[in-house]
C-alpha cells in the first residue's frame, strides 16, 4: 500500500460521505431527551425488544399484561370493595379499576425505568447511545401495556351503561400525559441514582407501594376531602398521580353513574381543570430537573455500571 493510493482512498471516502460538510464535533454530544426523539429508529427497536422481552420464556407471554392488573383488581375489589365497603359506593369496581390502570402504568414506568440503565449495561458500557433512551423506552413499553387494560375498562363501562363525553376523553389524555411525563422524569432521576447505589431500586419499590394508597384509587377522593383539613387536601392534590387517577375516573367512572353531575360534585375535587394544569406543570418541572441531574451525572454512568 503506497502513500498515494491511501490518499486517494481517503479522498474518495471524504467525497462519498461529504466529510468536508461535516464539522468536527464531540462524539458524545448530548442534547438530552431531544436526541432520543431524533434517533427514533433505535428507540423503536429498544421498545420492540422490551415488549418481546418482558415476558420472555413464559408460557402465557403477553397474557401476563392482562393477568397482572386483573389479579390486582380482584384482590382490591374483594377485600376493599366487598368486605370493607360493601355497596356503599356507586360502581366501586369501575372507579377502582380506572385508578388502577393509571397507577399500574405509573408504577411500572417508575420501577422498570429505575432499573433500565443497570439492566442495559452491556450496551451502555460500550456504545454511544443517548442514555435517556432506556428510561424513555421503558415508559413507552408500559404505555403499550396500558392499551389492553383500557379496552377491558371500556368494555366494563359499556356494560354499565357508560356515556362517553368530550371532556372525559380530554381528561383521559391529560391523565396519561401526566403519568408519562412524571414517570419519565422520576425514571430518569432514579435510574441514574440506581447506578451509583442499587439501594434506590429497592427504595422505588417501597415508594410504589405507598403510591397505591396515596392516590384515590381504593377509596374515593371525597374520603380525603371530607376527612382532612384544607391544606392537607391541597397537598394531596399536588401529587400529579392523584390528579391523573381522578382524571381517569372522570373519564370512565363518572359516565357510568346514575347522575354524573351530582356524583361529580360529591366525589371529584372542585376546579379539576385548574388542578390538571397544576399537575401537568409539576410533572414538567420534575422532568426538567431530572433531565438536568441526568446530564450532570450520566457521564459517570458507564464506569460505574
Amino acid at each position: 500500500m503506497t502513500e498515494a493510493a491511501q490518499a486517494t482512498g481517503a479522498v474518495a471516502l471524504a467525497d462519498r460521505h461529504h466529510l468536508d460538510a461535516i464539522p468536527l464535533s464531540s462524539p458524545a454530544a448530548n442534547r438530552g431527551l431531544l436526541e432520543v426523539f431524533r434517533r427514533r429508529y433505535v428507540l423503536r427497536l429498544l421498545v420492540k425488544r422490551e415488549v418481546q422481552g418482558r415476558y420472555e420464556g413464559s408460557f402465557l407471554g403477553f397474557l401476563w399484561s392482562y393477568i397482572n392488573p386483573l389479579s390486582q383488581f380482584f384482590i382490591y375489589w374483594f377485600f376493599m370493595g366487598q368486605l370493607l365497603s360493601r355497596g356503599r359506593f356507586e360502581n366501586y369496581p369501575v372507579h377502582m379499576f380506572a385508578g388502577l390502570i393509571i397507577v399500574h402504568f405509573f408504577t411500572e414506568t417508575f420501577g422498570a425505568g429505575t432499573r433500565s440503565l443497570v439492566g442495559n449495561k452491556g450496551l451502555i458500557a460500550k456504545m454511544s447511545v443517548p442514555r435517556e433512551m432506556f428510561p424513555v423506552a421503558t415508559m413507552l413499553v408500559s404505555l403499550w401495556h396500558v392499551a389492553p387494560q383500557i379496552l377491558i375498562l371500556v368494555g366494563v363501562c359499556l356494560l354499565e351503561g357508560w356515556r362517553p363525553d368530550v371532556v372525559g376523553m380530554l381528561a383521559m389524555v391529560a391523565a396519561i400525559l401526566i403519568a408519562m411525563i412524571l414517570g419519565t422524569g422520576l425514571a430518569l432521576l432514579f435510574s441514574t441514582a440506581n447506578v451509583f447505589f442499587r439501594d434506590f431500586g429497592s427504595f422505588v419499590s417501597i415508594m410504589n407501594n405507598y403510591i397505591r394508597f396515596g392516590v384515590p384509587m381504593l377509596y374515593p377522593f371525597s374520603t380525603i376531602a371530607n376527612g382532612l383539613p384544607q391544606w392537607a387536601v391541597h397537598l394531596y392534590l399536588c401529587n400529579p398521580v392523584s390528579i391523573a387517577v381522578i382524571l381517569f375516573q372522570r373519564a370512565f367512572w363518572l359516565g357510568t353513574t346514575k347522575d354524573p353531575v351530582k356524583q361529580a360534585a360529591a366525589t371529584l375535587p372542585d376546579h379539576l381543570a385548574m388542578w390538571t394544569i397544576i399537575g401537568i406543570a409539576i410533572s414538567a418541572v420534575v422532568l426538567l430537573i431530572a433531565q438536568r441531574v441526568f446530564l450532570k451525572y450520566e457521564n459517570k454512568v458507564p464506569e460505574r455500571l
Binding site: 481517503a10 471516502l13 471524504a14 460521505h17 464531540s26 462524539p27 433505535v42 452491556g122 464506569e303
Partner: protein, 265 residues
Amino acid sequence: MGTSIKVDHATKVFTKRYHKTFKQMTVAKMRKQKISDTFNAVDDVTFEIQQGESVGLMGLNGSGKSTLLKLINGTMRPDEGSVLTRGRIAGLIATGAGFHPQLTGRENVYLNAAILGMNEKETARKFDEIVDFADIGDFLDTPVGNYSSGMYSRLGFAVAVHVDSDIFLADEVLAVGDKPFKRKCMEKMEEVKASGVTLVYVSHAAASVARMCERVIVLEKGKLGFDGAALDGIRYVKYDDELPVDGKTDESALANDDAMLGADI
C-alpha cells in the same frame, strides 16, 4: 485531507471505590481511611489523526487504551479537555460489541447497526453479508448470552466492519477469534483501511500493528508516552522482538505468521 480525530488535553477521571456499603463506609470513616480515590485513566492526552490514517494504539494492560477508545467513540466524555471527531464511527471496544445478552444474534445485529447509525434499509441490505462474514450458522437465532466468546466477537466484528464508517476502532479484535477468522479479519481491515477509513487499532501483536499502521501512539498509565512512526513505537514498548528481522517488507511471509495474527492473550 481533513482532521478525523482531534484529542486535545483530554483527561478522564475514574473513581476507585474501596468501600461500598454503609457499614463499610462508616467503619472506614471512623478509622480515618479513605473511602474512595480517583485516578486519571486518560491523563492530559493530545494528538490529532488525519482522515485515512491508520494508527496503532499500544500500551500495557490498564494503560488507558480502551478508555481512550471510549472517549473517541462517545461512550464517555472527557472530564477535562476535548475529543472531537468527524463522521460516523464504528468499531469494537474491549473485544466485544455492545450486545444485549437476551436478544438473538439477528436482533442484536439490527440493534447494534441502528446504534452505529444505520437505518433499517441499510441494515437489511447488508444483513446477509454480515451473517456470511460472522459465519456462526444457526446460532443466529439464539440469544447471544449463550454464544461462545469467539462467536460473540465474530458477530460484533462483522457488524462493525460492515457499517459504512469514517472512523473504525478495533480493540483487541484478534484476541479471541480462531486462526482462519483472524486472517479474515485482517484482510477485511486492510480493505477498510484502503478505502480511506481512519483506523485506530489496539493490539499487543507487534507484527500486525507494523503491518496495519504507519503510526503508533503509546499510552503509559494514561499519559501519552510516544507518538510517531510505527516501528519506533513498537521498539518503544519493547515488542520489537516479535517483529521479523527485516521489518514489514516481506508481506507474504508475514501473512502466515503467528505473530501477525496476534499472540495468545
